[in-house]
Amino acid sequence: MNMKWLEDWFEKIEPKGKWSWLGSTYEAFHTFAFTPKTVTKSGSHIRDAVDMKRSIIIVVIALMPALLFGMWNIGYQHYMSVGTLSTFSFPLFTCFWFGFLRMLPLIVVSYAVGLFIEFAFAQVRHHEVNEGFLATGLLIPMIVPVTTPLWQLALAVAFAVIIGKEVFGGSGMNFLNPALVARAVLFFAYPTHMSGDKVWIAADLWGSDAIAGATPMGDLAAGMRPSASALDMLIGTIPGSTCETSFIAIALGAILLLMTGIASWRIMLSVFLGGGAMGLLFNLLYTINFPLSTYLELTFYYHFLMGGFAFGAVFMATDPVTAAQTNTGKWIYGLLIGAFAVLLRVCNPAYPEGMMLSILFMNCMAPLIDHCVVARNIKMRERRAVK
């Protein structure tokens, strides 16, 4: 494809003189259209073809199965609850279109607010615009209830980008996962919009009252066994945050992330191992009639299927910036995330979802874990020198 005309156009409009302050914005769009023609000046004369844009776009592509399924499920849950749809007849497109229309404003608001702030910061700092938000901006609407008011979402995104990321110096310098910061802000600032049984199913766009529909975790927190079957949870035809319900759709994304090596298999695997181990421990307590909650009898792998466990393990815990950075550290980090998530779910009914808090907590602990791992290497070196 000959794109010479576009190359020329970009070179023609390059901001100079009194417009040169627009450099970052120009650079962002230019490198979006063309990988730059920069050649190596020092060090290795050849470079790997992968860059940040490619790496981030893989994450975005990996989110697609969950996003598309989530859109469909929003419609499916709606029509199921208003009763115009029976379990055995769910027109694919009607459900998807309904969900698409409900998801689109969330995505647009998230990207618009976040990218505006990103561009503004890059512009002020004369930095290049970092691609990181392309993934974050899509992750945020995927983990909130579909009924989240847009102004709340905008506020949360702004908070996450500014306080969660930019004050530390932007992508790569933050220590908390920005998408989860946004969700945590919503969770603590507007709890009534983020939990309970009235927020998970979208009502008609104009008017009608909120629709009740409890998530499996809501059931459990209320002391009941979940009404949804394991198969429902596996496929994802249950109420929940917009795009985190389907284990299968998330698994498809996980396959892409692992195949391309973008996400750490160590973290992903160890989160499930940690969660599974904790779940088994509680199952064991159940057999000795330990008085705690109905949660104890929940077979351990149900934890993987419910709530945000799988989504968190695949897309959130593996955020390389906020995870542990050493390979040993990644194992510890993942195991503890899984274990804490299940612990919070079972032992703290005030927070039905433990995954978000568990990951944020371990984000804070990751530097400490790395410090200990690296300290061991330093000790080894010191011992060797003395010998």
Partner: protein
């Protein structure tokens, strides 16, 4: 005694244009240069002036700090030019050789001086780690390491290069044994297995305050020849190749040889069948003395680097790539599996059946813009040291000397990070960062 080590971590970059195994004798090249900037930490003091007559092995420059360390003329002839760069930094001393003497058969034998010492013209071939300077005769190295295999992309096969010089090699090893135990190491595994840094780290890592000496295998033979005959003839069998080379093969050169004639043959002469690169070249060609991963760019009439044993010709990549980050990328090479070419890599056995096959075209494009470190865990896969590479790089960026020492800076050289730099999606200049950090440490150590 030859030792063997096995390395698992690393990467062999599938670069086209490996040299064919036949050697063309190019010792009749007339112009030679001694390049002080190639020698780390060398502060040159000129000992000759333009127009002076010099003999092979006669010192041209000496180190200001230690006058025993000199860089000798590779041939007998006259000093043609003294080339200075920015701030009058001495870049090259160019010597034009006399044809007869270049062949070297007539130089007189002087057995009296043939005992290896810091004053010997071959002493500069000994390098010291940490820092990669010329071996300091006042230091006691804990070992002298020789790598018997160069694993750099398109590097020469050292066994082939040393054919017929075995007795000189042995004499060289014997001469070195007077200073410290000599380890000749054959490393197996992907690059950087053959790097001297990898070998030392695998056998006996350098601690603070210690040092080791290292020599290129070909230079061991040169040292041996000098010890046996008293003749200074720094010969190198050099692999000339790369995706842009017309007929990659080996040349027998003297160190510091002018590469103009070779480049002319490789780039312009069309009488050779085009072996390596069937595509039509659209960009200018970059000539690299040394490995494509850590060598130096030279001009078409430039000279072979002091310690280099390969020359790589590669296309410049100064072209835009439309939506490069989004395209499937069947022709792009990446260590990651993020491009179609990489995703197909595990199915290499099925390649004959594929309708379209991955073919890699390498050039000098950076393939992206510089970013902060975001992704972690890939450096460790190509970095066979017991060192945390990302943490060490960050310690170097912030200039925390104490932390660098704790993390093992003395065990590495910039070239050991070449693969990390190659695969880095953040496009950080890692070798420069390491070099600058080492430079600070070296100045502190010598001050």
């Amino acid at each position: 005694m030859t030792e063997t080590i096995k390395i698992k971590k690393g990467l062999d970059i599938p670069l086209d244009g490996a040299a064919e195994r036949h050697i063309v004798d190019a010792r009749t090249i007339e112009r030679y240069a001694v390049k002080p900037p190639d020698v780390v930490g060398f502060m040159p003091r000129l000992l000759v002036a333009e127009g002076d007559t010099v003999t092979a092995g006669q010192p041209l420059v000496a180190d200001k700090h230690d006058p025993r360390l000199t860089l000798p003329s590779p041939v007998s002839g006259t000093v043609e030019a003294i080339v200075r760069g920015e701030k009058r930094k001495l870049m090259e001393v160019v010597v034009v050789g006399e044809r007869l003497k270049v062949k070297g058969e007539t130089t007189q034998v002087s057995p009296l001086t043939s005992h290896l010492s810091p004053q010997s013209p071959v002493w500069w071939m000994l390098k010291e780690r940490p820092f990669g300077t010329i071996a300091n005769p006042d230091h006691q190295p804990k070992g002298i390491y020789i790598s018997l295999r160069d694993t750099n992309p398109l590097a020469p096969d050292l066994e082939f290069a040393l054919q017929g010089r075995e007795h000189e090699f042995e004499a060289g090893v014997k001469a070195l044994e007077a200073f410290a135990p000599v380890h000749c190491v054959r490393a197996e595994g992907p690059h950087p297995a053959g790097n001297i840094g990898t070998i030392v780290a695998a056998l006996d890592p350098i601690n603070k305050g210690e040092c080791v000496w290292t020599v290129n295998a070909q230079d061991v033979a040169n040292i041996g020849r000098w010890c046996l005959t008293g003749e200074y003839r720094p010969e190198r069998v050099v692999a000339v190749g790369g995706p842009a080379a017309k007929a990659p093969h080996y040349y027998r050169l003297l160190c510091g040889a002018c590469l103009q004639r070779i480049c002319d043959t490789q780039l312009i002469d069309t009488s050779y069948p085009s072996l390596a690169s069937p595509t039509i070249l659209t960009s200018p060609i970059r000539i690299i003395s040394g490995s494509v991963l850590s060598g130096t760019q030279i001009t078409a009439n430039g000279f072979l680097g002091m310690y280099d044993q390969q020359v790589c010709l590669i296309e410049e990549g100064d072209q835009y790539d439309f939506m490069g980050w989004l395209m499937p990328g069947l022709k792009k090479y990446s260590f990651s599996y993020t491009f179609l070419s990489g995703m197909l890599r595990p199915f290499k056995a099925l390649e004959p059946m594929m309708p379209i096959k991955p073919t890699y075209s390498f050039n000098t494009n950076v393939h992206g813009s510089v970013r902060p470190f975001l992704f972690t865990g890939s450096f460790e896969r190509v970095f066979p040291f017991d060192i945390y590479p990302l943490q060490l790089i960050k310690a170097c960026i912030v200039g925390d000397v104490e932390l660098q020492e704790k993390l093992g800076i003395y065990e590495v050289e910039p070239e050991d990070f070449a693969l990390c730099e190659f695969i880095d999606p953040s496009k950080t200049e890692i070798q420069t960062i390491i070099r600058e950090a080492l430079e600070v440490l070296r100045k502190e150590a010598t001050a």
